[in-house]
């Protein structure tokens, strides 16, 4: 005799209770506070804000805590929250030239107005495990200097003055919002950049790396990488002028790439662009390289069939929330489909076996 299995409801409740317990870990160890995550795991917080498309360090830190440190899960929590928020409007374009730079480096000029500012970078650290940190996290204070009161001009503006860098065509005043309108292809550059800005860091890193290794190589120099705080302003129709609604930290990367020209036009450098929330420079550089690779049509280059040139491939597969959901859904029951496949393969096998038997007997 057989009694059908039931119990989905209870299993879910119990799984959730166990998850909560595991998330907390050993209760003899003090619990992490959201502020600790925000302050001490700031780069994780930045990634969650960038790929979650929501600038809120406290909320991102909370999501990381809730997700047990699984950043894609944390990004998912942020996205699901973000989607419930109303859209009030678009801000004015941020003026990254007015940025208070924590870091600003150029690989194309040894020095330029504004100077090279290394900032808090891992770049020249030796990657040796610091065992002292395990016991004692105290640090001294870093030497400080006063920030420059004048704006730091973009390196690109110097190339532009000589007409050496290609001019960017002006886009629509307010571009479509990727999260409010369905992505239809071909997408314009504004939509592509939105998609790349929230795309998975690892996926974009791999694609960018592939362009360096020859799959649509476009020979990028980092003309400038800058990280710092910028003001966000918004026009308020009732007031008739723009007011500052907040300040965000962003990473901006501009690459200067191989030149092109024709009989009628002297050669010019071209540009790739990356802009990401927070201090996220690996992502910003990757974004700039992939942006540049995707511009092949507009710049009159050949499509060499490289993955990074394929807009549909890049845009449809860079979103880690879409990817992880669909990938993991194969854990869900597929009894019904599998059953129909079972029946089909049994039928095909028995037919094939009959044919073999017949041939043997003949």
């Amino acid at each position: 005799m057989y009694v059908a299995v039931k119990g989905g409801e209870r299993a879910i409740d119990n799984a959730h209770a166990w998850l909560a317990e595991e998330r907390r870990g050993d209760v003899a160890v003090p619990e992490l506070s959201v502020a600790q995550i925000r302050e001490q795991l700031a780069l994780a917080v930045n990634r969650v804000m960038a790929e979650g498309s929501l600038y809120d360090p406290d909320l991102a830190a909370l999501a990381i805590k809730q997700a047990r440190g699984d950043l894609i899960e944390a990004i998912f929590l942020i996205r699901a929250y973000r989607t419930t928020l109303p859209r009030f409007g678009g801000s004015n374009p941020i003026e990254t030239e007015d940025m208070t730079c924590d870091r600003r480096v150029s690989a194309t000029f040894k020095d330029a107005p504004g100077g090279q500012i290394l900032g808090p970078t891992f770049d020249y650290t030796h990657r040796l495990i610091d065992f002292k940190l395990a016991a004692d996290g105290d640090v001294g204070t870093a030497p400080a200097s006063t920030p420059s009161p004048i704006a730091t001009p973009h390196i690109m503006s110097f190339l532009d003055r000589e007409d050496l860098i290609q001019k960017e065509p002006a886009g629509a005043d307010i571009p479509d919002d990727l999260t409010r309108t369905p992505l239809e292809l071909p997408a314009n550059r504004a939509l592509r950049l939105q998609s790349l800005a929230r795309g998975d860091e690892g996926f974009l890193l791999g694609l960018a790396y592939s362009t360096q290794r020859g799959y649509a190589r476009n020979h990028a120099f980092v003309a400038e990488l800058r990280i710092g705080a910028v003001a966000v302003e918004m026009d308020i129709p009732e007031l008739g002028f723009a007011i500052e609604v907040g300040e965000i930290t962003v990473t901006e990367c501009e690459t200067v790439n191989q030149f092109q020209g024709s009989k009628s036009q002297p050669p010019q450098f071209t540009r790739g662009y990356g802009l990401v929330f927070g201090m996220t420079e690996r992502k910003a550089i990757s974004m700039a390289l992939v942006d540049r690779a995707l511009r092949w049509k507009e710049l009159g280059e050949d499509n060499v069939g490289a993955p990074a040139q394929d807009e549909e491939f890049v845009l449809y597969h860079s979103d880690n929330i879409q990817a992880t959901g669909f990938l993991e859904h194969i854990k869900l029951p597929h009894y019904v489909d599998f059953q129909s496949e079972l029946e089909l393969i049994r039928k095909l096998r028995s037919e094939a076996q009959e044919n073999i038997n017949r041939e043997v007997s003949e």
């Binding site: 669909f326 059953q339 129909s340 089909l344």
Partner: protein
């Protein structure tokens, strides 16, 4: 849960989704792009169906959710709870009592009525996707009604295997125009796609909605000499003895012993309530005690 709007989504979003649904009903089988929202469950787990359900549910509705035909599979439980929490609608496991049924991979055995809506969760809405990976190309093929590739695929199946080797998500042509993916239902369910109820298909990750209005012609693709055949396991349900329902196969011992039972749990329970007992079943009352 008063922090969220009725059925989770804000009214603007629901209006956008309803417009896509209406367009889908006006052009049966056509995939309407819509600005799919991030839902609090993962893409690939029914976000399209959930958004469509959220857009059609009213406070007076009675909601049923099935996955693989069953009400108590974990993801069905999860989605049902979501709407209990965010919409506070009445819920049921009885097909006949539901006004909106969200499903994954099955059509209920019981015929639906004109006052019922069946919402499908769709993973890959594009029936041509595995023949042509590019969305730009497949949209062009639909626009030009260029379905030769699909027929070639079915023909190649026959030449290679002696049969059309598609057992689920079997492609259909709707009202003589659009080739449509009926979602991964077993082909056993295909004949039921012509029904009195409204059928809505939601693909969240792929941002598409499509629909079959009531009493619309839905033809499973085939050839004159290889006609479409809906198939199921050649058994009766071991619990309720039904011979006309789609069956799940269970492995019941270490020797690989098998038994079969209805995938539609409500259908099976109803039959047992009426006194039908399968080869390995027990009378309904004993089981419930």
């Amino acid at each position: 849960m008063s922090d969220y709007n009725f059925a989770y989504l804000d009214e603007q979003t629901k209006r956008m989704i309803r417009r896509a649904i209406l367009k889908g009903l006006a052009i049966p089988g056509y995939q309407v792009p819509f600005a799919s929202r991030e839902m609090p469950m993962p893409y690939g787990w029914g976000t399209g169906g959930v958004q469509v359900s959220a857009a059609v549910l009213t406070p007076d509705d009675t909601f049923k959710v099935i996955d693989q035909g069953a009400d108590d599979t974990t993801n069905a439980v999860s989605i049902r709870r979501f709407f209990q929490k965010t919409a506070g609608v009445a819920i049921t496991e009885a097909t006949s009592k539901a006004s909106v049924i969200q499903t994954r991979h099955r059509i209920p055995e019981e015929n639906l009525r004109a006052d019922q809506i069946l919402v499908y969760q769709v993973p890959i809405p594009e029936p041509l996707r595995f023949l042509e990976p590019s969305e730009v190309e497949t949209r062009k093929m639909h626009a030009l009604e260029e379905y030769g590739l699909m027929h070639v695929k079915l023909y190649e199946d026959i030449s290679q295997h002696g049969d059309i080797a598609t057992a689920y998500a079997y492609p259909v042509k709707v009202e003589g125009r659009y080739v449509m993916d009926p979602s991964p239902i077993p082909k056993f369910d295909n004949p039921k796609l012509e029904m009195a109820g409204i059928q809505l298909f939601g693909a969240g990750r792929e941002q598409r909605i499509y629909a079959i209005p009531p009493y619309t012609q839905v033809v499973s693709l085939d050839f004159d000499d290889y006609p479409f055949q809906p198939t199921k396991a050649d058994h009766a349900c071991d619990l309720c003895a039904a011979e006309d329902s789609y069956l799940d196969e269970l492995i019941v011992d270490d020797e690989g012993g098998r038994m079969f039972m209805c995938s539609d749990t409500d259908y099976c329970a109803n039959r047992r309530k009426q006194g039908h007992v399968g080869a390995q079943g027990v009378p309904y009352a004993e089981d419930q005690a």
